[in-house]
């Protein structure tokens, strides 16, 4: 009898575990109509967690009031988002809509080539003047970022500023006796040295991190010196990293001067933000997300912090600084409810939704209409990161498969003095161009050439995709 009970128990456990296995993805299993057949559920995936409170409350409002009986179900996926999307697509569990931002590293050309997502041009055309005014969708077409060959796959609604330098003004004053901030990179390096000397081991001039140190400010300074951040030469359609040399050398001085917070290259970005908020770092570089970080996540209480433009090499801006178009939504090609999905995108791109969103300080407005609509007294410190006229979006460089270490890793290790800058650049030029040639030859990517490329207006040129 006892045995029977045990085996019955075991059997039920097994059945339960099986049903658990099969039901694991049930929540994300895409869309469907509910029992009554009247309501359509639109599954939305996003990898933004920071704005959930606001977005969820707006979704709730929409779900209870929209006349089309659409129910939005949003799932947040923050880890490995792009891979998850492509895996979901191939296993038939893709959502109807995928939230996309310029900063998440989607290879839009591959997305379009493999027909992961639907082009939105027809919907945009039909959407009317209001949509156009709020999003300026006709002006925000960026090849390889949100569009491929003129087909638009997602419309950005907000923008993340390019990187800025953030200064601890108390430490600047202590070190220099003034509040004047550096405008060139050599001046910034020397300020970092002065702060460090004044700090005598208590605080330091500069800090980096192990989490993508390349993009925090180094990349932006290189762009403003005219060196493309991908290392891509659009005019000649090949890679050329030589413009990085002076910036690498100047940044290396931060390390040889010992102006960098010791150990910061092996610490996570949040640990360093906490150190900045704690008054241990004089100069910190990052983009507009830092507005929320230093007011909410690690609020700065004991000193004044100021946001300033990136320093240039010689006082002149020679190339546009990259901004990230964000918060757009693509319709996955597997959806059965494309029209309803577009209605959801219209909600997320509506003036009311965006006004509330922007006034919470989650991002910067990306159209004149929204810039005028937002009450900046409500947005907090994000207004310090307002867009500059030299900021723009570059067409994405061909996404090639390189052998060995990527450019960010190689150049940053040259910055840290772990390898010679000349050999590093030579190595990158050789490997990247070899990979580009072989990927173009195999038909995997096309060579992008923009003969009339203007580094100050990178999105304005005439694009050509070449097969060789």
């Amino acid at each position: 009898m006892k045995k029977q009970i045990i085996s019955a128990l075991l059997a039920s456990v097994m059945v339960l575990s099986f049903s658990a296995c099969s039901g694991g993805n049930g929540g994300n299993a895409g869309s469907g109509t509910s029992a009554g057949g009247a309501k359509t559920t639109i599954e939305v995936w996003t990898n933004d967690r920071h704005d959930l409170d606001y977005v969820n409350s707006e979704i709730q409002k929409f779900n209870s009031s929209n006349p089309d009986n659409i129910q939005i179900h949003q799932t947040v996926i923050t880890d490995d988002y792009v891979n998850m999307l492509s895996m979901a697509k191939s296993s038939g569990t893709a959502p109807d809509i995928a939230g996309i931002s310029g900063s998440i590293g989607i290879d839009m050309n591959a997305f379009a080539d493999t027909k992961m997502v639907l082009p939105l041009n027809d919907y945009i055309k039909k959407a009317g003047a209001d949509f156009q005014k709020v999003t300026e969708s006709d002006d925000h077409i960026y090849e390889g970022v949100n569009a491929v060959n003129g087909q638009v796959y997602w419309v950005p609604t907000v923008v993340r500023s390019g990187t800025r330098m953030i200064y601890n003004m108390d430490l600047v004053k202590k070190a220099t006796g003034s509040t004047t901030l550096p405008t060139t990179l050599p001046e910034m390096v020397s300020l970092a040295k002065k702060i460090t000397q004044k700090g005598a081991g208590q605080y330091y001039g500069f800090a980096t991190t192990k989490d993508a140190p390349f993009v925090r400010c180094f990349e932006g300074i290189a762009e403003m010196a005219g060196q493309n951040r991908y290392g891509y030469d659009y005019v000649n359609g090949k890679f050329d990293f030589s413009g990085f040399k002076p910036i690498v050398e100047e940044f290396n001085k931060l390390f040889t001067d010992k102006s960098v917070l010791p150990g910061s290259p092996s610490q996570g970005v949040d640990a360093m933000r906490a150190q900045f908020a704690n008054g241990k770092i004089g100069i910190w570089g990052n983009a507009s997300q830092e507005a929320g970080v230093f007011t909410e996540q690690f609020p700065v209480k004991n000193f004044e912090w100021k946001v300033a433009e990136l320093p240039t090499m010689d006082g002149k801006v020679q190339g546009a600084l990259t901004i990230q178009p964000e918060k757009g939504y693509a319709i996955m090609s597997t959806t059965k409810h494309a029209d309803q999905a577009w209605k959801v995108i219209e909600l997320f791109s509506s003036k009311d939704f965006l006004k509330g969103y922007l006034e919470k300080g989650y991002g910067l407005p990306f159209s004149k209409e929204m810039t005028a609509a937002v009450d900046t007294s409500k947005t907090g410190r994000i207004s310090d990161f307002a867009l500059k006229d030299y900021e723009s979006v570059y067409p994405a460089a061909p996404s090639i498969t390189i052998e060995g270490e990527d450019m960010q890793k190689v150049l940053w290790s040259a910055v840290m003095g772990q390898r010679n800058v000349d050999t590093a650049i030579q190595d990158l030029n050789t490997r990247y161009n070899k990979a580009l040639d072989s990927d173009v030859a195999s038909g995997k990517v096309k060579r992008l050439v923009i003969k009339d490329f203007d580094p100050l207006h990178p999105s304005k040129g005439t694009l050509q995709y070449l097969d060789k």
């Binding site: 097994m14 099986f18 490995d80 792009v82 891979n83 492509s86 895996m87 590293g105 290879d107 591959a110 997305f111 080539d113 493999t114 992961m116 330091y204 192990k210 993508a212 917070l261 010791p262 150990g263 910061s264 290259p265 092996s266 610490q267 996570g268 640990a271 150190q275 241990k280 996404s399 090639i400 498969t401 390189i402 052998e403 060995g404 270490e405 990527d406 960010q408 290790s413 840290m416 772990q418 390898r419 195999s442 038909g443 995997k444």
Partner: protein
């Protein structure tokens, strides 16, 4: 007689059928979660696959692997890591087990304390160790300088010369308790009669340890060693969190490199090449394990 045979045969058939029926769930899971991914893996060895489209590249991945300095560097680091970890973790956990299997006051409390890291997530304790190892205001450096052992802060994770030692320290802390418990349970299975008779013969503690505990544990030690070797070669979680293979690839082991090839966000995923490398890595670990098993059998013959 015939009737009996028939009945026997039908019973046997029934037994077979129910055996298969009972095996079915586990076979099903094995095929789905183990065999299928393995075949899937082999499919992409000859492809350049970015997650969307696979491009056939023939033997290119193989040649690339042969000339990939970072990969072979990571193989060397894997051996270095595994060797250092095993040299320390096995004797120390054995010693701890020998001490804590005695019936002394508080031994179960200490067992629990040493075992604790095994149940904590590797990512979590590695993150905490990251703070402990911090150069600026890190607690390890403060303690060492208070004790007068160091004069300037040590860059535990950023200095290529000592980064491996720091990683080994975390690995020891994380794995010690696990092997200790295995040894303790092995020791518990040795019959007390043997100890009693050796006591009557006048053996002291050290003699008992070397002539009774150690030889009688040898089958258990063999299994534990094999587990420890395969685990040590496959460890990468804590390295990923602590250094991500840095500085300048000094702590790059095979699996951190493979992970980065697929999941690193600023390059195109190289799933085909990473697949090639994981097959090679599996072969390397397989060879090491087989070599160990042969060696262990030889040792058995000698003993």
């Amino acid at each position: 007689m015939k009737l009996f045979q028939k009945k026997h045969a039908s019973l046997e058939d029934e037994g077979k059928a129910s055996a298969w029926l009972m095996l079915l769930p586990s076979i099903f899971l094995l095929v789905i979660t183990s065999v299928y991914p393995f075949i899937w893996l082999f499919r992409y060895i000859c492809y350049d696959y970015n997650g969307y489209t696979a491009y056939f590249t023939g033997a290119h991945n193989f040649y690339h692997m042969l000339s990939d300095g970072i990969f072979w560097g990571s193989v060397v680091h894997t051996f270095e890591y595994a060797g250092l970890k095993l040299i320390f973790i096995i004797p120390v956990s054995f010693l701890l087990a020998a001490l804590l299997s005695q019936k002394i006051l508080g031994s179960s409390l200490f067992r629990a304390i040493y075992f604790m890291p095994t149940v904590i997530s590797t990512a979590v304790y590695s993150l905490i160790f990251g703070f402990i190892f911090a150069v600026f205001n890190g607690s390890l450096n403060s303690i060492l300088s208070l004790m007068g052992l160091i004069h300037s802060p040590v860059d535990w994770l950023g200095n290529p010369k000592i980064v491996m030692i720091s990683i080994i320290i975390v690995a020891l802390w994380g794995g010690l308790g696990n092997y200790m418990i295995l040894f303790i349970s092995g020791m518990g299975s040795i019959s007390t009669d043997v100890y009693e008779s050796s006591k009557i013969d006048g053996a002291n503690g050290i003699q008992t340890f070397f002539h009774i505990t150690l030889p009688m544990l040898s089958p258990v030690i063999k299994v534990i060693l094999m587990l420890a070797i395969t685990t040590a070669f496959k460890d990468y979680e804590s390295i990923l969190v602590l250094t991500n293979g840095g500085p300048n690839n000094r702590s790059q082991v095979m699996f951190t490199y493979i992970y980065q090839l697929i999941f690193s966000s600023n390059v195109t995923p190289q799933i085909g090449y990473a697949t090639m490398l994981s097959v090679v890595a599996a072969l390397i670990i397989g060879v090491v394990t087989v070599a160990y098993l042969i060696l262990a059998r030889k040792l058995d013959d000698v003993m």
